[in-house]
C-alpha cells in the first residue's frame, strides 16, 4: 500500500512530465510542498495521520496530472475548438465520399481524417500567429435561392432533359444525334427486357423529377423550400436507381438477370459508369440535404417580398 507521500510524489512526477523542461523541477518542487501543506491540514482536520485515500481525495480536486499541468502551462489546442463543427463535417463528408469510391479500402478514409486534421491544425496555427491574416473571417454576399435567374434555371432544366433524360430514354438515337451521325454502330441498343423493365420506368420518372424543379423555379422566378427539397429527393432517387443499374438487372418476379444493352461489352463498360454516376448523384443529394439542413433563413429585407 502506498503512503500519502508516495501518492503525492507520483502525482507531482506525472504533472511535471507534461511541463516544459525548463520549468519542470521548479514547479514540481513548489507543487510538492503545497500538496504536503494541504495534506497536513487535511490530516489535522480529520484528526488522523495522512494516508493513501486521503491523498487521492486531495488530488482528485486537482484533476488529472495533464489537466493540472495545463493550468500551469496552458498549451494551444491542435485544432481550434471553434473549428470542431467544421472539422467533423469535413471528416464525415470526405469519409463518405472516399468510402463510396473505394468501399473495400478502409484505410483511405482514415488517411483522409489525417489530412483534414493536419489542415485544420495548420489553419489554427496560422490564425494564432496572424489573427488578421489570410484566414481571418471576411463577409461574403449571401446567395438567395428565393431569387433565381430565369435563364439559368431554364437552361439547367433543358440541359437535364437533354443530357441525362433523353440520353437515358434512347441512348442509341441520342448518341447518333450527338455525334452527327458518326455513331458507334448498334452498341447502345437497349435489350427488350430492359426497355420494358420497372427499373427503366422508375429511372425515367426519377430523371423527370430531376428536371421538373428547374422549370418550376423558372416559372416562379426562384426556388421555394418545397422545390429545393424536391430537387434533393430527385437526386437521391436518380442516384439509387443508377446504383441499381450497376448490378445485373433482374426481372421483378422471375428474378432472371438481363442486360441493359444488347452488346455484352457495352454492359461491361456501362455498369461501373452507372455505379459512379449513381454515387455522384447520391453525394449531390447528401450535399443538397446538408445545405438545406444548414441553411439560415435570410433577413426579410434581403429576401424581399418572396415567400419562403
Amino acid at each position: 500500500m502506498m503512503t500519502a507521500d508516495q501518492v503525492i510524489e507520483s502525482y507531482v512526477r506525472d504533472v511535471a512530465h507534461y511541463l516544459p523542461r525548463a520549468k519542470r523541477d521548479d514547479l514540481a518542487f513548489e507543487l510538492r510542498e503545497l500538496l504536503r501543506d494541504e495534506m497536513a491540514a487535511k490530516a489535522t482536520a480529520a484528526g488522523r495521520a495522512a494516508d493513501r485515500d486521503m491523498a487521492l481525495e486531495l488530488l482528485a480536486r486537482f484533476g488529472r496530472p495533464a489537466e493540472a499541468a495545463s493550468r500551469y502551462h496552458p498549451r494551444a489546442p491542435l485544432i481550434d475548438p471553434a473549428d470542431n463543427h467544421n472539422f467533423l463535417i469535413w471528416v464525415a463528408a470526405g469519409a463518405v465520399v472516399l468510402s463510396a469510391g473505394r468501399p473495400s479500402d478502409g484505410i483511405v478514409p482514415l488517411q483522409w481524417v489525417g489530412v483534414v486534421f493536419v489542415w485544420f491544425a495548420i489553419a489554427a496555427w496560422v490564425r494564432r500567429r496572424r489573427p488578421a491574416g489570410q484566414l481571418h473571417w471576411r463577409p461574403r454576399p449571401q446567395r438567395l435561392p428565393e431569387v433565381a435567374s430565369q435563364p439559368a434555371t431554364l437552361l439547367a432544366g433543358v440541359a437535364t432533359l437533354v443530357f441525362p433524360f433523353a440520353m437515358y430514354l434512347a441512348p442509341q438515337e441520342w448518341w447518333e444525334a450527338a455525334s452527327l451521325g458518326r455513331s458507334v454502330g448498334s452498341g447502345l441498343v437497349l435489350t427488350e427486357e430492359f426497355r420494358h423493365s420497372w427499373q427503366r420506368a422508375l429511372t425515367l420518372v426519377a430523371l423527370g423529377m430531376l428536371a421538373a424543379p428547374y422549370f418550376v423555379a423558372t416559372a416562379m422566378r426562384g426556388w421555394r423550400t418545397w422545390s429545393r427539397h424536391n430537387l434533393v429527393f430527385a437526386h437521391l432517387f436518380v442516384g439509387v436507381m443508377f446504383a441499381l443499374h450497376a448490378a445485373p438487372m433482374r426481372t421483378l418476379f422471375g428474378r432472371e438477370t438481363f442486360g441493359i444493352f444488347e452488346l455484352r461489352v457495352a454492359n461491361q463498360v456501362a455498369m461501373p459508369i452507372f455505379g459512379l454516376v449513381g454515387g455522384v448523384m447520391m453525394l449531390a443529394a447528401l450535399y443538397g440535404g446538408y445545405k438545406e439542413w444548414a441553411r439560415v433563413t435570410p433577413a426579410p429585407a434581403l429576401r424581399g417580398a418572396v415567400p419562403g
Binding site: 507543487l31 503545497l34 501543506d37 480536486r61 493540472a68
Partner: protein, 119 residues
C-alpha cells in the same frame, strides 16, 4: 447560459462560478502586498470569505508571475522551503486599476439592483 435542470441550479452555479472567476485576480492581488506562499495565501483568502480551490490558485500565481504582476522567491531558511509571492511594481499598478474598475463596476451593478428592487 441556459440552465438545463428545472430549478435552474446548474445555471446559477455556472453564474456564481463566472462571478468568482472574474474577481479572482483582484482578490489574489489584494492579499499580496505582503509576501505569501501558496498555502498561506489560500488560507488568507478563505478566512476573508473567498475560498479558492488549490488547483486553481496555485497555477494562477505562476501565471500572474509570468505576466509580470508578481515576484517570487524561494525562502530556504524555512523548513520546508517555501516559494513566496508578492506584488511587483506592475502588479501594484494593475491592482490599483483593477480595484478602481471593480468599484465602478460594483456601483453600476448596485444601481441595477436598486432599480430592480424599487420597481
Amino acid at each position: 447560459m441556459v440552465p438545463r435542470d428545472h430549478d435552474g441550479r446548474e445555471g446559477r452555479d455556472i453564474g456564481l462560478g463566472e462571478l468568482r472567476r472574474g474577481v479572482l485576480v483582484l482578490a489574489v492581488l489584494s492579499r499580496l502586498r505582503d509576501r505569501q506562499y501558496g498555502y498561506s495565501l489560500r488560507q488568507a483568502l478563505a478566512e476573508g470569505g473567498m475560498p479558492i480551490e488549490e488547483g486553481t490558485l496555485y497555477p494562477l500565481l505562476r501565471r500572474l508571475e509570468t505576466q509580470g504582476l508578481l515576484l517570487s522567491e524561494w525562502d530556504t531558511a524555512t523548513s520546508p522551503p517555501r516559494r513566496y509571492y508578492r506584488l511587483s511594481r506592475d502588479g501594484e499598478r494593475a491592482y490599483g486599476e483593477l480595484a478602481e474598475a471593480w468599484r465602478a463596476q460594483s456601483a453600476v451593478i448596485q444601481g441595477f439592483l436598486d432599480a430592480e428592487t424599487n420597481r
